[in-house]
Structure formats: structure tokens, C-alpha cells
Amino acid sequence: METTISPPRPVPLQPVVLHVNGSDHPLLLEPRRTLLDALRDDLGLTGTKKVCDMGNCGACTVLVDGRAMYSCLLLAVDCAERRVTTIEGLGGPALDPIQEAFVAADAYQCGFCTPGQIMSLRALLDAHPDPSDAQIARAVTGNLCRCGAYRNILRAGRLAAEIEADRRAQQGGQDGNAPGR
């Protein structure tokens, strides 16, 4: 009564160039490989987390052409020609204002959901520099935090918007938009 399982036939690998955090990465990948696995296992970018692998939790959130996407629901081969930003691509010598705000607001406990939360808020602030509280909540509602740090995460979102507004004010007339992601 046991069903016999035969081994899967080998799938031809496909060449793809991923544009991640400003660099090009030529890779040879199985077409079924998710962007999440490609980032973590092929590029070693383990800041993007694998939790459910089916679009329930948001821990794998990255920016794809500036929009927050679940990388576990994207095939890597479909992401050629698209700009991907991971948590490792945020900030520079200084922290990104959202990262700064997460530290200031103590917006995590175990920290496992944190990269995904930050990427979701990054997409929000890039699109809406002055978001309402409802927009902040909506932006992270697809990011589970089992430690339940939600209220501090929302505070961090608000604080990050304020930090960025201050920076824009300091930059005066210059175009204060974040560099293209």
C-alpha cells in the first residue's frame, strides 16, 4: 500500500543575473528556486529570513523595484532585470533611519522578524514620506512578530518618519529622497 516515490528528474539550470543591493550577481539556478533561497543560500545574504516559505509571515520581505515583496513567493529567475534590496543593502556608514528608529524604540525582542519589518516600512516611507498611523500599521500587517513587539514596531515606524523628515529639512532645498533602490 506504500506508494513508491521515484527520484525527480534533474532540471536544467538557468542562467540569471540578480541585481541585489546595487551589485550584479550572475547565477545558475533551478527555475524553481525562490528568490529567498537564492538570496540566502546562493548569495549568503542571511538577513532575509525563512520562516513559513509560503507567504504567511513577512520575514522574507525584500524590496523589488522599490516595492515590499515576500521573497519566498518569487522565483529567482523571474527577478532578473529587477532591483532587489535586502536588509544588508540598507544604511551605509550610518544606519538607515528605520534601523535607527528600531533601536531607539526597542522594536524587537528575539529580532527574527526585524529585517522583514524594516523592509516593509522602508517601502512605505519611500512611497509615503509622511505616513498616517493607519498606513504604518497597514505596512507591517503582513509581518508577524511572535514576540509581540507590535506596538514598538509601530512607534518605530512613526519615529523613522520623523527622523527622515528632520533629515529632509536639514538638507533644505536639495532633493532629499533616498538613493534609488
Binding site: 542571511t46 520562516v51 516559505d53 529580532g111 527574527f112 509581518n143 511572535r146 506596538r151
Partner: protein, 781 residues
């Protein structure tokens, strides 16, 4: 939201020149966590590693007729398939070693590990695991405790003295039957709860390798490195010292990492194959693979006399232990003891049992039996208050534990009883915050029905004439008690080593203590305790905690105990090292101290007499809910959560524990409906198992902190991290009752259950009732 601090702050403490305890410095791991640099077990890899994949049983009860590894071994990349025959000593367990590393002859639950595939790639390991051909003969499934205890039912673990009855606890004092017979008012009800899944975000994972000196190193996550080491070493037949457990960053735990899962698999493969190995479970493997919170069924009879004092309680609890012991014996003892909550009851007859079934094993989950027991106790208290026309706060004020009261086990409570103080602080704050609630001696007339937002008409509470379609608001309050630290004579201690360095003055220190930081922030708190004691800045105190070979045993990150026990060990080791410092010209001194709190005892098997605990935490919570009678959806609008923490070492970490605990409690109360049928897990992914999101958690969570110094804790601190889970469920039940007039007795309070309860209550229109599948609803409304 700022935290409010009340009461006995630093009574008797000399003022410290540099006040580190009581402040909230930024977490030391902040940078790594916001940049993605923190390495969790699933992020680890070792050069030349093999990838492991465990073959799970996938069936609840079956004899293994054969395991054919040949098809798997023929798959390219597969290096080895390990089975029970490869395990040197195939038993492990936290309390009792009744669980095999790899199944031996029989599988007893769906998540049982049957074989372990090692391969050069993760994909090959996954394919290899599917190609292992296990031939089973299915056996009858013991699917619930009632069946398990019926005569003639097959045994889950043949050879045990009491068949499927894993453990039984009786606690008796006075004459409960007589007291109930003579009581002015007696109420009886049955309550049920289902499993709760920890759902920590980082699934079970890790790497392992063998060092040149022959030591096996397992780098993973857990809650007690030294006990993990003991258990893993025993499965390999090695001395403890030959196994090293290291903790990477821990992606949540909540009790779900107390039992071993992947650790013995990693160690076995590394030891047998002499290659570095890595293993990461997927979400479904995690949902099947670690013990859950116990489903319980609790029947309770409570009686009060004419002046509103509780005279007697009879209560009976049955918990589904699943296929293996895990910590079920301890959980059921703790739950049985707390069946009377934090109330003085002169006559009690309490009975608890844990029953083996072919369901997923159950064990530790934040609260450790207290939430289930007090769902029943606090609901009974609320219903009694209502039955005799009393205010829920006044009734509790009359009956709550006072200093020096006796526990059901006949011995006085440990000193520092904060039951009344937390209730009164909570009730006052709830009234002030929400403009609702109680004045401590009587309900504020009409207060709970006041609409919070202008423009929304909310009808007043009461069952008659409910406008079925309009959302209604209600408030509820409940108390909670939970042991802090180990109970019932379980050896309780923590060891810390403090090294001081400097010329003349102490310039810096290293603290060694094997305490797991699961996100609760205990590493920072321990450094704060040391820095305060040494009058050093925090940055001058280093901590070594995450390596069983480099730090002494602190005991587990559980029972809310680390701040209290490990904190005290650090505090005392600091004092011992400081005392040595003037006596030497060395530039380094070292002191090691093992702290042992006051002893507890096992309970007398007949009467239950004994000293179960050395410390309790007390809490009270008030919640406001909105119930939509049309859909049955319950929303929590606001929470006041009052806790006696003894002393807040790090107020912000406490606030985080309150808010996070409330979020988990909210999931438990309203959303998280873990289901099994005939031994199969129906909720295998987070598509089916709903977890609270940012939108479910109320805007208003008010952490309220009281500081009644504990006689043993460092600076008077006691633990608190589990307490937010304790009163919440009955507080929500009371709030739903306040809103729509029905008492819910089956957790979680899903929309279906709310609707069914409304359908069954008088004064609402009849609707066609469709029974909910897989729900044995004992209607107590």
C-alpha cells in the same frame, strides 16, 4: 506608552552612585538585529557540511515493519541514512527519558523521527528523505484522553505502571464535599482548552561538528544549554564534557525549545559521519515536531457562603500529554495546584491527571499550566460574584490571598503576596484609563456601556432585547498567580562566575553564566545587575553565556526564573569577587557562587501536602472588548496589565514582556485554534493556524508595574514574563459576558463559538446551528 511604577521602590537599598539597575539601556544586540547581521541557527553553515533531513512518521500510531534505505542511498548526493540502530543510547527526555531519537519498532505520533538522511545538498537530502521506504502496519490510534483511559484501549507506551495514565495529582485540604453541601451558592461548569503552538519564527535548526579533540559541538538554539548537553551526551553514550552546546541568536522560544528536537539528530550525524552537518526544519516540521501547550478539560465546582466567602472547591483536570512525557508531569502538578487561583479556600479537593495519547506531545509553553487552570478558576470567581450579585472586584478583594495565607497544600505562601495590590492597581487604572470598570467596591453604574468613540451608539449590556446586529462593548477583569522558579522539589540553582580585572581599582569584569537570552533581554539584565554591584559602567561588564563549556549552569530560561535565580547568582558572585579584591595585589580575581533558593518539596501523594514553590508572581488584567453579535468577532480594544515584579531591573524589557505576552494571550484567547483529528495535525501551516498581527493588538496596552521586594531576588526582583498569559483568557471571557451576556467555556473564543453561545442564550433569535467540526464543545453558557 510609558510604564507606571508604583510602590515600594528600592526599600532599604543604599543609593548606588551609578544607578544601572532600574534603567533601560539599549540592548547590546541591537545593531546586529536591525542590520540582519545576527546569526540564528538557520543562518549557520560549516565548510564541507552535509545537509540533514529527518524522515517523520506522518502517521500517529504504527508498527515499523521495515526501513529500506537503498532507494535513498542510490540518489545522487545522498551519503547516509541513519536509523534507530545507529543511535548509541536511543532515549532522551527532559524529565523522563521515554523518547527515542529515532523511532524503534513503533511510531507513536505523527512528528516522530524515523530516519535521518545526510546528503551533499539540501535538495538531495530532501529527496533522499522521500525515497526512504518505511513499511508500516497501522495500529489503533488513541486520539483523546477519555479513550486512552477506557478499559481495553491499546497502550501508547506499553510497560508503564499505570497504562496510559502518565501522572495523577491529588491535593486535599479540609472537607470540600461537606463545604459545598453546606454552601449558600454553588456553581459548576466545565472548561476546555486546545493545544497552543509556540510559532517561534526561527524553526528548529543548527549545525554540528566534531572538534579535533573529539568534542561534539552543536550550535543551535535552546532554553538550557547544560541540560541540552546532558541529554545529547546521553544519547551518544558520551560524558557530558565531550559535548558542547552553543547557542546562536535565538529566534523566539516561549517554552517550545525546552525539549530537544533537532539537537540529538545533529549530534548523532556529526558523530557518526565525522562530517560537519546542518539541519533546518521547515514550518510544518516545526508545527509537528515540538511539544505544544496542553489541551485540558477542567470540571470545577465552587461554593460560597452567605457572606460572599469561598468555602470550598472541587476541581478535576485532565490534560492530553500526547505520546511522550516531556514536562507533562510537572505541568499537571502546577496546573492542579493553581485550580483555586490566588484565592484562600479552606476546603479543596483538586485532582489532576496527564494522559498519554497518540497526539503531539505537550510540554512547556509560557505559563506552564497556569493559563488553563485559571481560565477555569477566574471564570468561576466571576460567575460566583455575578450569581450572588456582587461586584467582581469586591468579591475578589474579599477572597484573594493575603500574606501568610495557606496554599491548598497546607503550607503558608512564600512571602511577598501581591495578589490584592495588583488587583486594586489594575481596577483603578482601568477605570481611569478607559472610563469604565469598577471602583473597587462596586461597579461604576452604567460605565461599561459608555461608548468610547463619539458617534457610535452602543446599546447597554444585558441579554434581553439584544440588537443582534450591533457591536457591543464590555469589560472584564481577572487575576493571576504563577510560580516563579522550579517547583515540587526539582533541584533549583544557578551558578555564576565573576572575574574582575584592574590595577588598584576594578576596571572591568567578565560574568560567566549559561543563561539563554530568548529575546526577553536577560543578558542585559544580568549585566545590569553586575554593573550595579560593581559600580562599573555597563560597557565594562562582559557576559559569556552561550557556550556550555565556557559558562556554568544557570538552569533553564523558563518559569520566569532567570532574573530571580541567575540574577541572584550574579549578584552574589559579584559580592564574593569584590570581597576578594582588597585581599590581593593580583590584577585578576575570580569568584564562583551557586545560588540555591529556599527548598521546595514534592507533594504528599495522598493529601498533596508540601511546599510546592518558593516564589509566586501576581498579576491582574482588565480588558475592554467589542463583540459583533452578527459575526461573532471579538476585538480587544484596550488592556491594563498589572504585575508585581519585585523590582524592575530593566523597565523597558518588562514593558516588552507585558506587551508581547498580551499579544500571545490575545492569540490564545481569540485566534489560535490548533486542531488534531485521529492523531493527525490539521493545522499544519500558518494558513490554518492564525497568529495575531499588528492590527489585532489593541492600541492601548497599559503595563502597570508594582514593586513589592522579593526576599530572595537580586535587588528584590522576581520574574514576570509568563504572567501576562495568565489572567487574559478569563478576563476576555468576562468582557464578552459583559458585552453580550454569555459565558464562553471553550478556548479559543472563535467567531463560531461566540455565535453558538449567543444562539443558545435566552433573548436572542434562534438560528440553525451547525456543529463545528473537531470541536467537543461542552456548553457551559
Amino acid at each position: 506608552m510609558g510604564m507606571l511604577t508604583l510602590g515600594h521602590r528600592r526599600a532599604g537599598m543604599p543609593p548606588a552612585p551609578r544607578d544601572v539597575v532600574g534603567t533601560s539601556p539599549p540592548r547590546p544586540d541591537a545593531l546586529a538585529k536591525v542590520t540582519g547581521a545576527a546569526r540564528y541557527p538557520g543562518d549557520l553553515s560549516r565548510p564541507g557540511q552535509l545537509h540533514l533531513w529527518a524522515v517523520l512518521a506522518g502517521r500517529p500510531h504504527a508498527r515499523i515493519l521495515g526501513v529500506d534505505a537503498r532507494p535513498a542511498l542510490a540518489h545522487p548526493g545522498v551519503v547516509a541514512v541513519l536509523t534507530a540502530a545507529d543511535v548509541p543510547r536511543n532515549r532522551f527526555g527532559l524529565i523522563e527519558d521515554d523518547q527515542p531519537v529515532l523511532a524503534e519498532g513503533v511510531v507513536r505520533w505523527v512528528g516522530e523521527r524515523v530516519a535521518l538522511v545526510a546528503a551533499e545538498t539540501r535538495e538531495a537530502a530532501a529527496t533522499g528523505a522521500r525515497l526512504v521506504e518505511v513499511t508500516y502496519e497501522d495500529l489503533p490510534v488513541v486520539a483523546d484522553p477519555a479513550t486512552a483511559l477506557a478499559p481495553g484501549t491499546p497502550l501508547v507506551q506499553p510497560g508503564r505502571p499505570d497504562g496510559n495514565l502518565l501522572t495523577e495529582v491529588r491535593i486535599r485540604r479540609g472537607d470540600a464535599a461537606g463545604a459545598l453541601a453546606g454552601a449558600a451558592t454553588v456553581l459548576e461548569a466545565t472548561f476546555t482548552t486546545t493545544w497552543q503552538e509556540h510559532a517561534f519564527l526561527q524553526p528548529e535548526a543548527g549545525v554540528a561538528w566534531v572538534e579535533d579533540d573529539g568534542r561534539v559541538v552543536v550550535e543551535t538554539a535552546g532554553q538550557w544549554a547544560h541540560d541540552d548537553r546532558r541529554e545529547v551526551a546521553s544519547t551518544l553514550g558520551l560524558p557530558d564534557e565531550q559535548v558542547v552546546i552553543r547557542y546562536a541568536a535565538i529566534g523566539g522560544a516561549f517554552g517550545g525549545r525546552e525539549d530537544l528536537t533537532v539537537q540529538p539528530l545533529l549530534a548523532l550525524a556529526a558523530w557518526t559521519l565525522r562530517r560537519p552537518v546542518a539541519l533546518v526544519w521547515d514550518r510544518t516540521e516545526s508545527m509537528l515536531g515540538h511539544p505544544k501547550r496542553h489541551p485540558m478539560s477542567i470540571r470545577a465546582r465552587w461554593g460560597v457562603d452567605g457572606d460572599g466567602r469561598i468555602r470550598g472547591v472541587e476541581a478535576d483536570l485532565t490534560a492530553d500529554a500526547g505520546a511522550y512525557a516531556s514536562t507533562s508531569q510537572e505541568v499537571v502538578k502546577a496546573a492542579t495546584l493553581l485550580l483555586t487561583g490566588a484565592y484562600r479556600v479552606p476546603n479543596v479537593a483538586l485532582h489532576g491527571r496527564a494522559v498519554l495519547t497518540n497526539n503531539v506531545p505537550t510540554g512547556a509553553f509560557r505559563g506552564f499550566g497556569a493559563p488553563q487552570a485559571q481560565f477555569a478558576a477566574e471564570s468561576m470567581v466571576a460567575r460566583l460574584a455575578e450569581a450572588i450579585g456582587d461586584d467582581p472586584v469586591a468579591f475578589r478583594q474579599r477572597n484573594l490571598y493575603r500574606e501568610g495565607d495557606l496554599e491548598p497544600t497546607g503550607r503558608p505562601l512564600p512571602a511577598g503576596v501581591g495578589a490584592l495590590a495588583t488587583l486594586e492597581a489594575c481596577a483603578a487604572e482601568a477605570r481611569r484609563r478607559f472610563g469604565i470598570g469598577w471602583d473597587g467596591l462596586g461597579r461604576v453604574p452604567g460605565a461599561s456601556s459608555a461608548p468610547r468613540q463619539a458617534g457610535e451608539a452602543v446599546p447597554s449590556a444585558g441579554t434581553d432585547g439584544i440588537a443582534r446586529k450591533r457591536p457591543r462593548r464590555g469589560v472584564g477583569i481577572a487575576c493571576g498567580i504563577k510560580n516563579l522558579g522550579y517547583s515540587f522539589g526539582f533541584p533549583e540553582r544557578a551558578t555564576a562566575t565573576v572575574e574582575l580585572y584592574g590595577r588598584g581599582e576594578v576596571e572591568r569584569a567578565t560574568v560567566r553564566i549559561g543563561a539563554a537570552d530568548v529575546g526577553q533581554g536577560v543578558h542585559l539584565a544580568l549585566r545590569q545587575i553586575a554593573a550595579d554591584g560593581l559600580r562599573l559602567p555597563l560597557a565594562a561588564v562582559a557576559l559569556v553565556a552561550d557556550d556550555s563549556a565556557e559558562a556554568p549552569d544557570a538552569g533553564s530560561a523558563s518559569a520566569s526564573r532567570l532574573t530571580l535565580v541567575a540574577g541572584r547568582a550574579v549578584h552574589d558572585a559579584v559580592a564574593a569577587a569584590r570581597a576578594k579584591w582588597p585581599e590581593t595585589d593580583d590584577e585578576r580575581v575570580e569568584a564562583t557562587v551557586t545560588y540555591r533558593p529556599p527548598a521546595t518539596t514534592p507533594l504528599d501523594p495522598i493529601t498533596g501536602e508540601g511546599t510546592p514553590n518558593y516564589c509566586y508572581g501576581y498579576a491582574a488584567q482588565a480588558v475592554e472588548v467589542e463583540v459583533d453579535p452578527a459575526t461573532g468577532v471579538v476585538r480587544v480594544l484596550g488592556v491594563v496589565s498589572a504585575h508585581d515584579v519585585g523590582r524592575a531591573i530593566n523597565p523597558r524589557a518588562i514593558e516588552g514582556q507585558v506587551e508581547g505576552g498580551v499579544a500571545q494571550a490575545l492569540g490564545y484567547a481569540l485566534l489560535e485554534d490548533f486542531r488534531m483529528a485521529d492523531g493527525f495535525v490539521l493545522t499544519r501551516t500558518w494558513d490554518d493556524y492564525l497568529l495575531p498581527t499588528a492590527l489585532d493588538v489593541p492600541d492601548e496596552i497599559v503595563p502597570l508595574v508594582l514593586e513589592t521586594a522579593d526576599p530572595n531576588g537580586p535587588f528584590g526582583a522576581r520574574g514576570m514574563a509568563e504572567l501576562p498569559l495568565v489572567p487574559f483568557l478569563p478576563a476576555v471571557a468576562a468582557a464578552i459576558h459583559d458585552a453580550v451576556g454569555v459565558w464562553l467555556t471553550d478556548q479559543p473564543f472563535t467567531p463560531e463559538r461566540v455565535q453558538f453561545a449567543l444562539d443558545d442564550s435566552p433573548g436572542t433569535s434562534a438560528r440553525v446551528r451547525t456543529p463545528s467540526p473537531a470541536t467537543s464543545s461542552d456548553d457551559g453558557s
